[in-house]
């Protein structure tokens, strides 16, 4: 990951910034005022206990949630001012934790949906009968290792395959910022590493990658900046090598942790399937 640090020094473009951003759900403070600056090409991971607000932060950055106060800016543009979904989709794309393919459509159409931001209505309609620009889709499916599944029905795929299709769709959409919510949560460690390597390869040097994770060891191996989130506020924000086990202990400690079920945050977020209260692997080694 040292090569990434080199890139950080040379590219100064600030890609994402949150300025005193908060999010309230009916009086419940899901996110306390948070200010973050992320540069283009960084690899950032949000770590923290369940219900701490990691998903909410991702949703704020992706524009799917709007902040109660404060500002979210992508590439210098305030997200609130973006009216067209099209422009937003060029900036940011997200791979959510829950499966979100259209089950009745083929994998090909699900992946080509990444192009809907560029297509007009009639082209989209036409493509359902005669797939347009299918080269985008077949290349993307190749890259995620699902070549040959183009004509399968979306709903017939396994969970891991559906996730890869979602990644292929993101490839086709080609946004500048890639967000991933718990990308390895339901995968064994080997598959988890494969997916992370894939995400890193896709992000390359030009795109910014932000993920929320449970697995501390994988997070430390693949990301160069760690932001600890606890009870809706930022606990620490450091380059990976400066994060100590003590900090992680504090981050995940059960004392003083607000109960995820009492807060409305996890029930309002679309991804409330993870019910783990402690990190998956022991990080004390």
């Amino acid at each position: 990951m040292l090569e990434d640090l080199e890139l950080l020094r040379t590219s100064n473009a600030e890609m994402i910034s949150l300025d005193s951003t908060t999010k309230f759900y009916a009086g419940f403070e899901a996110i306390s005022p948070a200010s973050i600056r992320i540069k283009k090409g960084e690899r950032v991971v949000f770590l923290g206990p369940t219900g701490s607000g990691k998903t909410t932060l991702l949703l704020l950055i992706s524009g799917q949630l709007s902040p109660t106060s404060g500002r979210v800016t992508l590439d210098g543009i305030d997200l609130k001012s973006i009216q067209s979904g099209r422009n937003l989709s060029r900036l940011v794309g997200m791979i959510p934790q829950q499966f979100d393919l259209v089950p009745n459509l083929s994998v090909l159409h699900n992946v080509l949906a990444g192009r809907l931001g560029e297509w007009g209505f009639f082209r989209a309609l036409f493509s359902l009968i005669f797939p347009q620009e299918s080269l985008w889709a077949t290349n993307a499916l190749d890259r995620v290792g699902l070549a040959g599944l183009a004509n399968s029905r979306g709903g017939n795929l396994s969970g891991g395959e559906q996730q890869r299709v979602a990644i292929a769709r993101l490839l086709v959409q080609d946004p500048a910022v890639i967000l991933a919510d718990e990308p390895v949560a339901s995968l064994d460690p080997t598959r988890g590493e494969e997916i992370l390597k894939l995400l890193l390869a896709i992000a390359g040097a030009e795109k910014t990658l932000i993920a929320s994770m449970h697995s501390v060891s994988l997070a430390r191996s693949y990301f160069n900046r760690v932001i600890g989130v606890r009870n809706g506020s930022l606990h620490f924000d450091l380059p990976t090598e400066m994060v100590t086990n003590t900090m992680l202990d504090e981050l995940y400690s059960l004392e003083g942790l607000r109960n995820a079920r009492q807060g409305t945050e996890s029930s309002s977020s679309p991804n409330n399937s993870s019910i783990r209260d402690v990190p998956m692997e022991p990080y004390k080694n």
Binding site: G85, P96, Q98, D100, P103, N104
Partner: protein, 244 residues
């Protein structure tokens, strides 16, 4: 409330007419002697064909009316709350008006305007059925599962594209099955409408009843039953193919 309404009926001796029971008996027995002579069977076939074409034509027009109005009535194309409310109000009002008049009344109206022509039958079927289909379609399109729609929106899709790539595909099995069910109802309605003189199985049944030829009535009823069963089978096979 249902139980209360039962107590309001006069269950006394006036419930069944004296000769009525005897007629019912005669009618039931006639099933055993159902008339299958070539002449009757061929007129049953011809009448079935007329009824079926009325039903199909009526449902096709009903779809053409109900689908767009259903989309408008669901409000799924509007992104802002104000336009969505307007869309839903207009759509639902139009659909409800179409539905509120029974097809027989429409038939009577159209026969008065167009005379005894097939157009009268087709429109009389299409308008109320369009209203019914549209109402159900609007709800099916609204009730589609959320995460795939959110993903489409995040990919930059417009509300129209979300309708095309998300709502329609996901609602399609239910849309189809409800349409087929209405087609079945349409066959029954078309049969009844032929009592108005528009030809078809109902007309034949009426003629046979006038002649008190219960065996012939059963012939036509059996054809009606077979038609409905055939539509049911077709509907099941289409639904299976779409959802495999």
């Amino acid at each position: 409330m249902f139980l209360w309404s039962l107590t309001r009926i006069d269950w006394g001796s006036g419930l069944v007419q004296a000769r009525g029971l005897a007629s019912v008996g005669q009618f039931a027995v006639a099933l055993l002697r159902v008339d299958l002579t070539p002449y009757v069977v061929s007129s049953a076939l011809r009448a079935s064909w007329v009824t079926v074409t009325y039903a199909f034509a009526g449902l096709s027009v009903a779809l053409a009316l109900g689908l767009p109005l259903g989309v408008i009535g669901s409000g799924v194309l509007a992104r802002r709350i104000r336009s969505r409310t307007l869309s839903v109000l207009l759509g639902r009002f139009a659909l409800a008006s179409m539905r509120s008049v029974h097809e027989l009344v429409w038939a009577w109206l159209f026969v008065a305007s167009f005379g005894l022509s097939p157009i009268a039958a087709v429109l009389a079927l299409a308008i109320p059925y369009g209203g019914i289909l549209g109402r159900i379609f609007s709800e099916l399109l609204q009730d589609v599962s959320g995460p795939p729609l959110r993903a489409l929106r995040a990919s930059g899709a417009s509300e129209w594209q979300i309708l095309l790539y998300g709502r329609f595909p996901m609602a399609l099995p239910d849309l189809l099955s409800y349409t087929f069910y209405r087609l079945e109802c349409g066959i029954r309605s078309a049969a009844i409408m032929s009592f108005v003189g528009l030809g078809g199985l109902g007309h034949q049944i009426q003629l046979a009843l006038d002649d008190l030829a219960y065996e012939r009535v059963w012939t036509f009823l059996l054809f009606l039953i077979v038609l409905v069963v055939l539509v049911d089978v077709w509907s099941t096979s289409v639904r299976r193919r779409i959802t495999q």
